[in-house]
């Protein structure tokens, strides 16, 4: 038997805060849905179509955009969406 080797932990030793998603709304009538464009080409094409379909189903749509797709959404933008919307859809790219 060889002696066990003790190694030091290379991780941050802190689990990032995990938050679960809100339950999926049963219906969209009267809800405010945010559409977040990450600012890659053609993201708006997808979101325009989603807006049409969501509006048809009685949702109110608010549009948002990240300043650049290469960086996380600014805290203010995330806060704005969280306080103004019941649900959010983020459009990826291309």
């Amino acid at each position: 038997m060889t002696e066990p080797v003790t190694v030091l932990d290379p991780t941050s030793e802190a689990a990032p805060g995990q938050r679960s998603l809100n339950p999926r709304p049963a219906e969209l009538e009267g809800l405010t849905v945010g559409l977040l464009d990450i600012s890659k080409p053609k993201g708006a094409v997808f979101l325009d179509r989603l807006e049409e379909r969501l509006t048809t189903q009685g949702a109110m749509v608010r549009r948002y955009a990240k300043p650049t797709f290469t960086k996380p959404a600014p805290v203010d933008l995330r806060h704005e969406i969280a306080t103004q919307c019941d649900a959010v859809i983020e459009a990826l790219a291309d």
Partner: protein, 327 residues
């Protein structure tokens, strides 16, 4: 250690207490000093955590100051390590070391400079990536969802051949004194080799280099992506023989890096990718001002240079970032 998710796929050196303490002797900084907020989880990363990961990567203690400075460089808003980690494009931090420390710790700037066989080159970049993985929480399949990835995600670090260069170094070009140890982080992919074995004049070779550089990332990108050109000694000789210094070389090169936008508009040549119609009729530089970094490195024989394509540049993406290495 592999099963715990700590490895990049290669075996790791077990970070025992003794090895970590020995690693910490490589820096004058305290173990509990905060080096940076490590993306993507934005957690505080201490010198000690960097030392643990540097042991695992296979670093010697004298490499630790370079790893620490590299992490400071990549964890800035301007370098944007979070975005580089998260992008589907296969880019990562390419680390270039200038100054006396490169020779002192035995870094390679010569034969096989971008390849294998040198412990410092191979492990410094690896240590940086292990810190991002283990401390920051950025691992492939998680936040890192690159389509192909590249060697720059495994660890890509090399030194400039300063001794053999007739030019100012990259760090000098970026405002540092030659006596200062500097690491420069550039967001890039793996290298591609550009062959020119027939040019004997500076005028010919500069045109050929420009042709190769015009295809960097895509022939249809202009100004939006940076580039890193690694000139080999034999290619450098064409320019030094002609009496061209760094500014003259850049001036001549830029003449051949101008792009007529009409040739790269969306739809031209049956290709849907390209510039929008609003940019028709212009002549634009392939690289934004300062967007092409040029260094001298490589073995003494071989009429090749290497091009490392970049990523989205500037405030919209990543800015090449230099930091002084504090021993």
């Amino acid at each position: 250690m592999y099963d715990r998710g700590w490895s990049d796929g290669l075996p790791l050196v077990p970070p025992t207490k003794e090895r970590v303490l020995r690693m910490l002797e490589g820096t004058s900084r305290a173990g509990d000093e905060i080096v940076a907020l490590m993306p993507p989880n934005l957690v505080e990363c201490t010198v000690e955590k960097v030392a643990v990961n540097s042991v695992m990567a296979g670093c010697r203690p004298e490499y630790l100051p370079v790893v620490l400075a590299a992490l400071e460089a990549v964890c800035t808003d301007e370098f944007n390590m979070h975005g580089i980690l998260a992008t589907t494009m296969g880019v990562g931090p390419v680390l270039l070391v200038n100054g006396p420390i490169a020779t002192e710790i035995g870094m390679n700037s010569g034969v096989n400079v971008l390849g294998h066989g040198n412990r410092a080159n191979a492990t410094i970049g690896r240590a940086v990536q292990l810190v991002v993985r283990n401390v920051g929480g950025g691992a492939p399949g998680g936040v890192d969802r690159a389509t192909h990835g590249s060697m720059s995600k495994l660890g890509f670090c090399f030194a400039e051949d300063e001794e053999g260069s007739p030019w100012t170094t990259l760090a000098e070009d970026r405002g540092f004194d030659r006596s200062v140890d500097v690491v420069t982080a550039f967001c890039g992919e793996g290298p591609r080799i550009l062959v020119d074995q027939q040019s004997r004049s500076a005028e010919s070779l500069v045109r050929m280099l420009a042709e190769g550089l015009l295809a960097s990332v895509s022939p249809r990108t202009v100004m939006g992506m940076d580039g890193l050109l690694v000139l080999s000694p034999e290619h450098m000789a064409r320019f030094s023989d002609a009496g061209w210094d760094r500014p003259r070389f850049m001036e001549e090169l830029e003449k051949f890096l101008m792009v007529e936008t009409d040739g790269i508009l969306a739809g031209v040549g049956g290709i849907e990718e390209g510039l929008p119609p609003a940019l028709a009729g212009l002549t634009l530089p392939k690289f934004r001002p300062g967007g092409l970094l040029v260094v001298h490195a490589g073995g003494p024989a071989g009429l090749f240079s290497a091009i490392i394509g970049g990523w989205v540049n500037g405030q919209m993406g990543s800015e090449p970032t230099s930091r002084e290495i504090i021993r």
